[in-house]
């Protein structure tokens, strides 16, 4: 009369826990324990270890600011074309760029430009000043193209306006 336990390969428990937390950072150790079949103490232990090793980098909440009122923030995606430097390639310039507090996300990409820089500021003027005064003059930077973000439809796999709600009736047979 009792249920069969799934046998898991070693390390799969950690992956399961991380997947749950990636989807919902507020999931409690007790909930995770129920969902995975791992004990609460072990869940806590695994989470602590993952935090220590920076496997879990940060717990974050995704906000649709447009729903709160008007968004005071201005976002821009800046394409940066640059000259790779001897021995360090793109890394040294990239590091200089990601140290700026205005830079929220930075990727090295393939294609017609090299870096994709996501910047946030209070006004378009502030972002423009950052690009012209801080970013563009850096040694190795050959050119920039600034795209201001007009509307966010989907971010990190989530549809910002529509996703989430269960449209099913609460009870059916």
């Amino acid at each position: 009369m009792s249920g069969r336990l799934e046998t898991r390969p070693k390390g799969d428990g950690m992956r399961k826990i991380l997947e749950i937390l990636e989807n919902d950072a507020r999931a409690t150790p007790k909930q995770i324990a129920t969902m995975t079949g791992i004990s609460v103490a072990e869940v806590k232990n695994i989470i602590k270890k993952a935090e220590r090793k920076r496997v879990i980098v940060k717990y974050k909440t995704m906000i649709n600011w447009e729903k709160v009122g008007h968004d005071e923030k201005v976002w821009a995606m800046i394409e940066v074309k640059m000259q790779p430097q001897k021995d360090v390639g793109f890394d040294a310039v990239a590091e200089r760029i990601y140290r700026f507090p205005q830079v929220r996300t930075l990727y090295l990409v393939s294609g017609t430009y090299d870096l994709a820089v996501f910047v946030v500021g209070k006004t378009m003027q502030e972002v423009a000043s950052f690009v012209s005064q801080k970013l563009a003059p850096l040694d190795g930077v050959h050119g920039t193209v600034t795209h201001f973000l007009l509307k966010r439809y989907k971010e990190d796999g989530e549809i910002l306006d529509a996703g989430g709600e269960d449209r099913r009736l609460p009870l059916t047979i």
Binding site: G3, E6, I173
Partner: protein
């Protein structure tokens, strides 16, 4: 005022979940394990096929039997999945879901007073459809101790000169139980000897765990005695599209089509086009969803057993059917109190027949986090109410 509705309807009791539905609708923050449908959206490529078809103007009726292209795909699917040969021209009918298929099957074979044998508990529409056809549902009790198997000897004992058919769901809604082929073969043997038809509701057919899908019609000599009802709702997450099918002998399909052409006329065209896409390339997505149900199944069965609600391991569909007898409550009391105190919705077993008493149906077609939270709330509820 003179009674204006048909007396036939008086024999059909109102749905056992109506009051729960009204209660839940007025409450906030309810975790529902009471739904009978997938929580996944229809795979996007299937939806897209329907969108494209609408853009191209496929908005007209199809033939009564359904689009020939779909029937051909279906015929090929039944061949490759079950090694069954059905002629797409004469032995297949596309219906508006299995619900319509069931109604057509019963009406096509039942004369007033004919009896149809079915298990108890069983899907709510089984007895209702028989009553709508002026037939008599004969419910054979099945028990948890026996994982709700329908014994062939009990089926045989229930046969009278008025018996016309046996109606079974494979796998079972509400219990999730799957009868072994040997047991089904015993029922098939009874059907053959006593010349009874078998209506086999196989809407959950692909949703089986640790085993290969099969069909009642695969049993030796049973193809001609079986009306196989299948559809796309559950395995492909297409409940709202209303596309099902019936596979049976030419004579039965012709009779069912006769009713269908005067009532539904044809199944929705865009749904039929979506179904073609599902048959052609929906298998990987269906497999992914089934694997996820399987993971949830282990979590829910273990959770229910841990809190002392004995639950056998369901091997099909997406329902767990635990016993709540240890709480001393009736199924309805349990479901209602659980909803009011912990905001978890389940369906009382009695909604599916008298033998459902002492059980609740928990659907695990909901997110793992909902299942986790629902189990925690249920455990708290059971702990509070269990007699010492």
């Amino acid at each position: 005022m003179k009674k204006c509705t048909a007396r036939r309807l008086d024999k059909v009791p109102p749905s056992g979940i109506r009051k729960f539905f009204d209660l839940i609708s007025s409450m906030e923050g309810v975790i529902s394990m009471g739904v009978g449908e997938p929580d996944f959206a229809t795979p996007w490529h299937i939806t897209e096929a329907a969108i494209r078809s609408l853009e191209q103007g496929f908005t007209m009726y199809t033939s009564n039997a359904g689009m020939l292209e779909l029937r051909r795909e279906l015929s090929a699917y039944l061949k490759r999945t079950y090694n069954l040969d059905y002629d797409p021209d004469t032995e297949l009918l596309i219906t508006s879901g299995v619900s319509e298929g069931l109604d057509l099957a019963v009406r096509a074979i039942i004369d007033p007073g004919n009896e149809v044998i079915m298990p108890d508990p069983a899907y709510v529409a089984y007895p209702a459809c028989v009553l709508f056809a002026d037939g008599v549902p004969v419910q054979v009790p099945t028990y948890c101790e026996n994982e709700f198997r329908l014994p062939a000897s009990d089926v045989e004992a229930a046969i009278t000169p008025r018996t016309k058919a046996i109606l079974i769901g494979y796998p079972s809604n509400p219990t999730g139980a799957v009868m072994e082929m040997e047991r089904l073969a015993e029922i098939a043997d009874v059907a053959r000897r006593r010349k009874l038809l078998v209506i086999s509701d196989e809407i959950y057919n692909l949703l089986v765990y640790d085993m290969e899908p099969t069909s009642f019609a695969c049993l030796p000599g049973m193809k001609d005695y079986t009306i196989m009802l299948g559809g796309f709702s559950k395995a492909y997450a297409m409940t709202g599209w209303r596309i099902g099918y019936a596979a049976a002998s030419h004579e039965i399909i012709a009779a069912m089509t006769k009713i269908h052409q005067y009532t539904a006329l044809c199944a929705p065209t865009m749904g039929q086009i979506a179904a073609i896409e599902a048959l052609r390339s929906g298998e990987p997505e269906a497999k992914r969803m089934i694997e996820e149900y399987d993971r949830r199944r282990h979590v829910i069965v273990k959770g229910l057993n841990n809190m002392g609600l004995d639950c056998f391991e369901p091997r099909g569909a997406f329902y767990a059917f635990p016993s709540i007898r240890s709480t001393g409550m009736s199924s309805e009391e349990f479901a209602e109190s659980l909803l009011m105190e912990e905001k978890v919705a389940v369906v009382p077993g009695t909604a599916f027949g008298k033998c459902g008493e002492g059980h609740i149906r928990c659907c695990y077609a909901t997110s793992m986090s909902n299942i986790g939270e629902a189990l925690n709330r249920m455990a708290r509820f059971v702990h509070k109410h269990r007699p010492v």
